[in-house]
Symmetry: C2
Subunit: 360 residues, 2 copies
């Protein structure tokens, strides 16, 4: 358990913890560089982006915006290396479609098409591939998006782990969507679209080795219906959306707090967490706030539309368990604080290391 601090103690630690420019100092790549936390950020901001040259964006993690003949498009890519390939509630194929669809969705874009690049391991049983391609087709159909183009490569036995998938999506930005971390301001309400931690816990249980009978299913699904309903209800008063994948809700909150230079206060007793997930996390000694989701988003909305946003999200199946979990404050800038059920505060920091490698 992290030490619980008073608000004064927290304040005293802010100065030393203020965000420093990211540098990449590691001699070798470690699993942590793929975990979506501090090391990932250092790799991307400290090595990749500077070496890509002048035209690279400051961060590669969001969907890029491309404007063509006055039409605003969103463009995003993700590789999927989850193991095992199939697990309760999902498969690598479904993750690959939904993950990219969701990156488009949280940028405010209706998914238009996805591409599918497969790296297959020599010796992979044809049925395993069939299962995944079928899952990709079904997920794409459910998300209403065609798989428009693709590629297949094969590498020697032992040079892959069954299959790795990379999907890239193109979407059309809604005219009323104006979503960016910089639009988040003090007073905004913070919502999540449902229970947190389901996907990561499902993967951990599927890997076995845990003496735990709980049945937890991945939450992989398209978030476009949630975003669509939210934008219908709030329009530009929805300030920023993020899907809470690697690094979980805590990582999203930290990224937004840093980018918008605001503080975020989370009412920890309002976090929707399934009892089975809470139980598994306690046994594992991890915090559900840091556990990956594959069908949940975090929304920052103006306070006057918070009720409408909540109602809109709850009105669609994928947002049935939506909740307001906190609010944005002036202080401490760049920091996320949790208010515990007992009234104390703790710093909810950026993830260090990789507690759950290859979660997506």
């Amino acid at each position: 358990m992290p030490k619980v601090l008073t608000e004064e103690e927290v304040g005293a630690r802010i100065e030393e913890m203020r965000r420093r420019p990211q540098r990449f100092r590691d001699g070798r790549i470690t699993m942590a560089h793929g975990a979506g936390g501090k090391a990932s950020r250092a790799l991307v901001e400290g090595l990749v982006v500077p070496l890509l040259g002048d035209r690279a964006p400051a961060t590669l993690s969001d969907a890029a915006e491309l404007t063509v003949d006055g039409t605003r498009l969103a463009f995003t890519t993700d590789s999927f290396v989850v193991r095992p390939l199939s697990f309760p509630g999902g498969t690598i194929g479904e993750l690959a479609v939904n993950g990219t669809v969701n990156d488009l969705a949280v940028s405010g874009a209706r998914p238009l098409a996805v591409s599918l690049a497969m790296i297959l391991e020599e010796g992979l049983p044809a049925e395993a591939l069939e299962e995944q391609v079928r899952a990709i087709g079904a997920a794409a159909s459910a998300a209403g998006v065609p798989v428009a183009t693709g590629d297949t490569k094969v590498v020697e036995r032992g040079k892959c782990d069954g299959m790795y998938l990379t999907t890239t999506g193109v979407g059309v930005l809604r005219a009323d969507a104006s979503l960016a971390p910089e639009r988040v301001r003090p007073g905004d309400k913070v919502l999540v679209s449902g229970t947190i931690g389901d996907h990561g816990v499902a993967i951990m249980l599927a890997r076995g080795g845990l003496d735990l009978e709980a049945e937890v299913r991945s939450d992989t699904r398209s978030l476009w219906p949630v975003v669509h309903a939210l934008l219908d209800a709030c329009g530009p008063e929805a300030h920023c959306l993020r899907d809470a994948t690697r690094g979980g809700v805590a990582t999203v909150l930290n990224e937004i707090a840093a980018a918008a230079e605001v503080g975020v206060l989370v009412a920890e007793d309002r976090l929707p967490v399934r009892p089975e997930v809470t139980g598994a996390c306690e046994i594992l000694g991890i915090d559900p706030l840091y556990v990956a989701n594959e069908g949940k988003l975090v929304a920052f909305v103006a306070p006057e539309v918070a009720d409408a946003a909540l109602e809109a999200m709850r009105g669609v199946e994928a947002g049935a368990d939506a909740a307001v979990i906190g609010e944005v404050r002036d202080e401490p800038p760049g920091r996320v604080l949790g208010r515990t059920a007992f009234g104390g505060h703790r710093i909810i920091d950026v993830l260090v290391g990789d507690p759950l490698p290859r979660i997506c």
Copy 2:
């Protein structure tokens, strides 16, 4: 050496060799499924496309066309698993940019943006990553295209081979481009934009094990300048373009012959091949027509614009060694014939197996 047949003998074999519907019957994935030849086609057309569902295209290998608010976009993806990561004349990073830029280019699209998804092996030296990211930035800059978005995943040591890259490109189709295999018709001239086989031979030499001193460099580069010049010269009289990567020029010719239901006759003595490449291929017992290129395209143009096309291609650096190598005929439909220097004919068939795994 393949047996040389007379035109009559060839005719007699056509019926039995007519294209059959592709089925996927293999129990496991083999290296051949990634080689771009017969097995790849069976995998994509016999397994992937049918299981992806109704909205999937008949083939996933070309750039897809997306229309947004009346603007025609091209969309394409490729994974790169080449080994070694660096080789004379290129790197995996350059291939990843140029390969995707070229898939856009040969569809007639000006590259607008590329995405970059990296799968890294735990333990990869940071300098190796730096070298590749730098190469990606330089290649993107040379091709005039921004790396707009990206993703990084890390897998355990031994579950990758240094790094695998997947790039996806979006481009804007030129209004005067009307490029499709179905537009190829008898009488069309067939051109290549330069010497063939350079990339594949460079990779083979870089892998060592050959008692050969020849210095052959990969031809990896953006083909957009060649396409741009060609379309300026020919407009819609350019009927079809393809970059001749996996499986080489022979594979492209076979794909187009099958799709357009035409015959292609290649004057083998007109094929531009560097003497070092010819020499290496002789020692290796392979045919340069089947060797991968990473900066060469095959063009099918109306006969009346063939001279203009050749001049236009030769007018840009990437097309300096362009040549007319053959023509399209009525017969034999779906087949490629080579006319040897001695006046005989041979069937230039689709590649079977994978003589050069992980060439890109």
